[in-house]
């Protein structure tokens, strides 16, 4: 049975009675862990505000995307089993990254399809794994309360989140509840930014050309702040924007939602 992937298909109400606090495990992702822990703390903040008790399982490391995308199926399967073991006891797993959530939700069942023991475990975990913006919007039915950020922002739809998981309306619904925040239209908002995981270091010249075009579109939007749901994409675009001398700052959507939007952006000192 193929796991239900697109969050649009889920009817959010009726998942749990509203009186209980949801028990949620945060899968923080290796990029957030190393490069921008603020996103992890913002995620906890938002999830707690949305009525969740958040645990951070100690045994989590990397979802295995680098191995998966390199064609190293064996290592990808090993990391999948690791991750499943670390997370499967929780009713919900929430991930501040569309690509990592997609790896767990879409690809783990594929990688382990032939394994009679791990296949079902992968499917079970897949059904309970959520990208954070979809989780906050559709499962928790939450909106930020009393959060204000008077800036003009542009939203980039990261590819995995958009096309593997159907993340499109959810972040925009959530951001609309942030007072004084304006969303400027971004031409080509669904166009790949050129990061592509290992692609940007394996084919740097091509990646650069794609990222340059993306940066130009972001600059042309007139936005002061770039938002997205994936740190890899954000680092790629922010790094290019900074190299170009554009004044556009970047951060993860959940930071804004958690009321941390006035803090240091990517590349600004903590």
């Amino acid at each position: 049975m193929a796991p239900m992937r697109y969050f649009d298909e889920v009817e959010a109400d009726g998942i749990l009675p509203m009186t209980e606090r949801r028990q949620v495990a945060l899968f923080v992702t290796c990029l957030v862990d190393a490069m921008r822990p603020r996103i992890g703390f913002a995620a906890i903040e938002a999830l707690e505000a949305a009525g969740c008790d958040v645990a951070v399982p100690e045994a989590q490391t990397c979802c295995g995307q680098p191995a998966l995308n390199s064609g190293d199926r064996q290592d990808a399967a090993a990391l999948a089993r690791n991750t499943i073991r670390a997370l499967e006891e929780y009713p919900f797993v929430v991930v501040p990254s569309g690509s990592c959530a997609g790896t767990i939700r879409v690809h783990y069942p594929e990688i382990l399809a032939d394994d009679p023991v791990w296949g079902p475990r992968a499917e079970a975990l897949a059904e309970r794994t959520w990208e954070i913006l979809a989780f906050l919007d559709q499962v928790c039915g939450w909106r930020p309360q009393g959060v204000r950020l008077p800036v003009t922002a542009a939203y980039h739809d990261s590819c995995a989140g958009l096309r593997e998981l159907g993340i499109k309306a959810q972040p925009r619904r959530l951001l609309r509840a942030v007072e004084a925040l304006q969303l400027a239209p971004l031409a080509g908002e669904e166009t790949c930014c050129g990061f592509g995981g290992t692609f940007c270091v394996k084919y740097p010249a091509i990646s650069n050309a794609i990222t340059d075009e993306k940066a130009a579109a972001i600059e042309a939007s007139g936005a002061e702040l770039l938002l997205a749901g994936d740190l890899g994409c954000l680092m790629n675009m922010a790094g290019k924007l900074h190299r170009r001398g554009a004044g556009v700052r970047a951060m993860h959507t959940v930071e804004v939602l958690a009321g941390m939007g006035d803090g240091p952006a990517i590349g600004e000192e903590a």
């Binding site: 992890g40 390199s70 995995a160």
Partner: protein, 463 residues
């Protein structure tokens, strides 16, 4: 070809004219397709049906090939079978020789390109008149197609103008595209009508009538294959459809996906050679059914790729193709579909870059009219490449080491902690240069990590 890909890509990236040309064609195609799709309410459901039709044919390909052959023969055509590209070329050249052909008129056929027919004809000393305008342009330039729908999309108008001035007897007087097209019309007309043999491809092979369907916007296929005495069709075996009505459903998808039109200007179904009292048409019709790896694809997990109706939408929407154009791919087919097909046609060792040079963004799959799961197929090639040891040692070591560490949480935490501290030595905000990350920092700055990992900070806060 491998060292070739990066080199060719670099050349393409350094060519500003190419970028202009690509945007003018693929960029326009993207916009036109979007308009056409928006105007067709049930497009998404139509895609699903189109995929189902092709899957049905692929599952029963033997049955449909036999049915097609029987009906084509009953209509007076002759059917030939070719396992390999060389076999196919040999058959075509033999047919041309038997017809005493000194020249052949060709309408565009990517299959013909795939099997190397232009080269085989040249070797046989048979003059080849390319009647499709773009194929004519690249013939003059001595190049291969760079796109499956617009073979000459890499050429700017100025480059085309220069070619025509040099090679047309009566070139255009004004520097307008209209004048250039008229120059080609004049130049090609006599040669086209004087050819001994007409060679076309087939967009569809209709099983229940034995008909061959071609679609063009110029009408050059008809002008190529109606006047000569012999009409030769070269077609991949996956072009079968059960009936004309099935073809109609796919034609609706093809035109919209390729050019944004509801239908191509000329859609022709040829059933056999001319009838006894017909006033024109070829006396002989030969259909060459070509395998060239297609049956192998079914067996190697690539069956879905056989759904492809050659619309070009995937490459028009591919961020990589939009930057490097078609020639960088180095094979007959460029873009995402080319990245899946080329390892089958040319071998994975020779083309391993193609499945790798992809961000896996999935846009190609989103626009494919027959829902080919292109990223999944590309990942399949990556897995094969890995298993066969074709990936560079540096990549293999890095990925395996990373996975080995990541399976041991305590070691992973330690490594992350150390890496983060090491990176901070190169900057606390933005890092412009750092060892081992040259590929990143050559083109963009690297935001410095905050200093402590999330897991460390979290553990601290819990105390």
């Amino acid at each position: 070809m491998n060292a070739g890909f990066k080199l060719r890509a670099a050349e393409a990236l350094a060519d500003p004219l190419l970028k202009v040309a690509v945007e003018r064609t693929a960029g326009t195609a993207e916009a036109k397709r979007a308009t056409a799709v928006a105007a067709f309410d049930a497009f998404e459901a139509a895609r699903t049906r189109a995929a189902a039709i092709k899957d049905h044919v692929i599952a029963h390909l033997g049955h449909y090939l036999e049915q097609f052959e029987a009906n084509a023969i009953a209509a007076g055509a002759q059917v030939h079978w070719a396992e390999t590209a060389d076999d196919a070329c040999r058959i075509v050249v033999d047919l041309c020789r038997r017809a005493g052909a000194k020249s052949v008129a060709r309408s565009k056929s990517m299959l013909g390109e795939e099997i190397g027919l232009p080269h085989a004809l040249a070797e046989a000393g048979i003059e080849r008149v390319e009647t499709d305008l773009a194929e004519h342009i690249i013939q003059l330039a001595g190049e291969r197609p760079s796109h499956i729908v617009w073979p000459a999309m890499h050429k700017t108008r100025e480059q085309v103008s220069d070619l025509f001035r040099a090679r047309h007897a009566e070139p255009h007087a004004e520097e307008t595209i209209t004048a250039m097209a008229e120059s080609a019309r004049r130049h090609l007309r006599t040669a086209m009508l004087g050819a001994d043999v007409g060679i076309s491809g087939a967009n569809f092979l209709v099983a229940d009538t034995g008909a061959v369907c071609t679609v063009t916007n110029e009408g050059n296929a008809e002008l190529s294959v109606v006047p000569p005495r012999v009409h030769i069709v070269t077609a991949g075996i996956e072009k079968l459809v059960p009936s004309m009505d099935h073809a109609i459903h796919l034609l609706r998808m093809l035109a919209r996906s390729a050019t944004g039109a509801p239908l191509t200007q000329y859609t022709t179904f040829y059933t056999g050679p001319k009838r006894a009292r017909d006033l024109d048409g070829p006396e002989e019709m030969h259909i060459v059914l070509v395998d060239n790896g297609r049956t192998k694809m079914r067996d190697e997990g690539l069956a879905e790729m056989l759904r492809c109706i050659r619309c070009g939408a995937c490459m028009n929407h591919c961020v990589v193709f939009r930057q490097i154009g078609g020639h960088a791919y180095g094979g007959t087919y460029p873009g995402p579909m080319g990245a899946v097909l080329t390892p089958t046609l040319d071998g994975l060792a020779a083309s391993r870059d193609l499945p790798q040079a992809c961000t896996m963004n999935g846009k190609c799959q989103e626009v494919c009219p027959v829902r080919i799961p292109l990223p999944t197929l590309l990942r399949g090639w990556r897995e094969k490449s890995w298993r066969e040891g074709l990936e560079p040692v540096s990549t293999r070591s890095a990925v395996r080491l990373w996975a080995w560490v990541a399976r041991r949480p305590w070691l992973y935490r330690l490594s992350a902690r150390m890496a983060v501290r090491a990176m901070c030595l190169f900057g606390r905000r933005w890092i412009a240069a750092i060892p081992l990350a040259g590929a990143w920092t050559r083109h963009r700055d690297l935001p410095a990590p905050q200093g402590r990992t999330f897991m460390d900070q979290y553990r601290r806060r819990q105390r």
